[in-house]
Symmetry: C2
Subunit: 437 residues, 2 copies
């Protein structure tokens, strides 16, 4: 059953060990095989050596004399080809089953792969009944189909590539901040702070069945964080550079690619800034270094998506990394949009919010590379954005980074540090008590 | 006011710039100063060069001819000594104020510090009224007092050291897993899974004032995660090594050092394990490498706690890193406890849960170093722990790591992979439907 496929593959291997007793006796006379990941084996580590590889069967091709398998262990998109005498075939050797293979790693005679493992032992460590397993060998299943099996979808190429990319992107983001002397802060998930006074919060309470009497577990209403920014601002009174990278929440009841109840967000605060350039530099450098890291460490996985999901996007990414990102003001952006012959769903005028359609047009207009838009209308920005004190078009020192295919990717602002201005604005928006601290 | 102290220090410096116009004209004739963190300056980077340092004033000592300041920017526990002509003194130059200092970095004539900055400019970038600021110069405030000012406590030595250590420990944990080929998984915070069927959950709902009609935002009751383990077990059917490191929640209404509503937890799953040694190796190696990393990168910060909070603990840490961690079985642990002459609050017998007092005694008994206790009574462990099928003392292949000063630090088990045993146990505890997947 699918349960068997899922659980059997996880843990130890008593059954396989007892079935392998005869082979094991012979095995003790040889050198202990070196354990390799599929990724190491495919890269040609330990060519000619006796090695052991563990993973899940992605294909089985029994021929007259030989048996061919592909085994994947999640360390790379590519699987390792196993060649064995057909005597080693086993009815339990099915698509999805978990195996342990030992043998000699050799150069492959075929052009299809650089190396293959000439197996002398194959243990089926976890069975997988092909009738019950929802994914079929050699079939490309659509995402809507895969979505029905959340506990098994990581076994598909698309999801395992996505998860490797996400893991590397996370590493890349932490590395960028680490290398640039930022201190990482775990801003709280449970908070009484609703940040910008915006709605769409999740509220939390102890589960009632367990704690009938704990009506006031927290002394104030408690929410899931929508932003760690104000916590970070506190920290930036003691550390010059801080960041947080954690889960963030919105109770937006929308089903779209742009709305998630839970998502990961990077936030940073830099003290002693002088101008928006101090911020755009961090935004551009982080974007660039994270993108380059992912392209370097997940080339195959990224190519899978370039091939099957977003053809043409590879060129866009390559070209954006070669150029510095242009900077235009909001007023210039409005001019560009007003002069455009494009038909927009929403018309534009100075003071309006930019819609995704506008953002995407601006990106195209600037050469299909990321573009910074600065100095937004003061009234569009939250209380903490620094007043540019200009007129008649009153703006705040805020910036958004728009990128191809997405629109707004990140935003920021200089923080209003002039106490009189900040206090007047908080009073104006009725938040003076909330932020008295 | 304290608000001024907190907000003014964060952002840009218009006031200071205008006050500094005369000095700035002179300044343009010189080479632009190199910006350094306090940590870089104290380490003697750029000795003899014209440098700029930004941070918060930790002490002010005006003397007849000279003014002495200490400036800290959160990059290290140590502050940088500034020496300036007393003409540069300014009534706004107070404890807690934010400053920007330029001058020449020199070897200090005093033994107290290796270098000092001979300042030619000091700008007060953010004011701090000493009457309103709750922390006083040269005073060591108790934690109970500091706790009243959550938005300012990061400006104390104890909290800034703690936050730097936490940041480095986080880096160390990610590095260990990265170097050992683990894929990082962001397991969800919002989940309908209550993991072990244990209580003490937080339940979440869209905030009512905002979404009156969204009673069924999620189609099932939604909770904050108590463990990502089962999500990781799913992933370990496609990746040989996975881990997660994120916020975890318990609605335990206890005020103690051992209970938090929100805390960070590391969890890992290793596929293709053969014995508990595969797990104790990961646990020991991660503990060791994270500890060594923190000791190497936060030596000063750790020393602060060794001096003022846990005297004697330094020797304990040093000695534990020199030895392999011993492994004893639960049965051996019970024998040790039964033979002991120590008076425990809870008596011990085979089958009982180990209390913190017992765990601490076992650690002392083993030489005050971390110790693994394995093979706990089957009935004490959750359904997924692998049955050792022994008798008459029926145990599961589970392990806890006990450490000096704390007791249980982490635990793990081989996972039950035999479908018939797993199914029987789930039925026994009434969880067969919940975990049918």
């Amino acid at each position: 059953s699918t349960v068997a496929a899922q659980t059997l593959s996880v843990a130890s291997t008593t059954a396989a060990v007892s079935r392998g007793i005869l082979l094991s006796i012979r095995h003790y006379c040889k050198k202990t095989p070196t354990k390799l990941t599929v990724s190491e084996a495919v890269a040609g580590a330990e060519l000619g050596a006796n090695v052991k590889v563990q993973g899940w069967v992605r294909s089985v091709r029994p021929q007259r004399a030989n048996l061919f398998l592909h085994v994947n262990d999640g360390s790379s998109l590519q699987s390792l080809q196993i060649v064995a005498s057909s005597e080693l075939n086993d009815p339990l050797l099915t698509f999805g089953s978990a195996v342990e293979v030992t043998g000699i790693l050799k150069k492959s005679p075929s052009q299809k792969q650089p190396v293959e493992l000439e197996a002398d032992q194959i243990h089926v460590v976890g069975e997988c009944n092909p009738l019950d397993f929802p994914f079929k060998i050699k079939e490309r299943h659509g995402l809507e189909y895969i979505r029905q099996f959340p506990h098994l979808r990581c076994r598909t190429n698309a999801f395992s590539s996505l998860l490797r990319i996400r893991s590397e992107a996370t590493t890349a983001i932490h590395s960028y901040f680490k290398e640039n002397d930022f201190v990482q802060i775990h801003t709280p998930v449970i908070t009484s702070n609703d940040c910008e006074g915006a709605g769409e919060l999740f509220q939390i309470e102890p589960s009632k069945s367990e704690n009938e009497e704990d009506e006031n577990f927290f002394s104030v209403p408690a929410f899931l964080t929508v932003s760690g920014q104000l916590h970070l601002e506190v920290m930036s009174g003691a550390f010059s550079r801080v960041y947080t990278f954690g889960p963030t929440f919105r109770a937006e009841n929308s089903q779209s690619r742009r709305h998630l109840a839970e998502f990961y967000m990077v936030e940073a605060e830099v003290s002693f800034t002088q101008s928006l350039e101090d911020l755009t530099k961090v935004m551009e450098d982080m974007f660039r270094s994270a993108t380059e890291h992912v392209l370097a460490y997940c080339a195959e996985d990224v190519d899978l998506f370039h091939k099957h999901v977003t053809p043409g996007h590879k060129d866009t990414v390559d070209s954006m990394l070669k150029k510095r990102f242009p900077v235009i003001t909001y007023s210039e952006a409005i001019d560009i949009l007003n002069r455009s012959s494009e038909k927009f769903d929403f018309s534009t005028h100075w003071g309006c919010d930019l819609q995704t359609e506008h953002e995407k047009y601006l990106v195209k207009h600037c050469g299909n590379i990321p573009v910074f838009v600065t100095d937004y209308p003061y009234d569009l920005k939250p209380f903490y954005a620094r007043d540019n004190e200009d007129h008649p078009q009153h703006t705040a020192a805020a910036v958004d980074l728009l990128v191809p295919g997405v629109g707004e990717l990140c935003g920021g602002s200089l923080r209003e540090e002039r106490l009189d201005l900040l206090r007047a604005r908080l009073e104006e928006v009725g938040l003076e008590d909330t932020y008295s601290w």
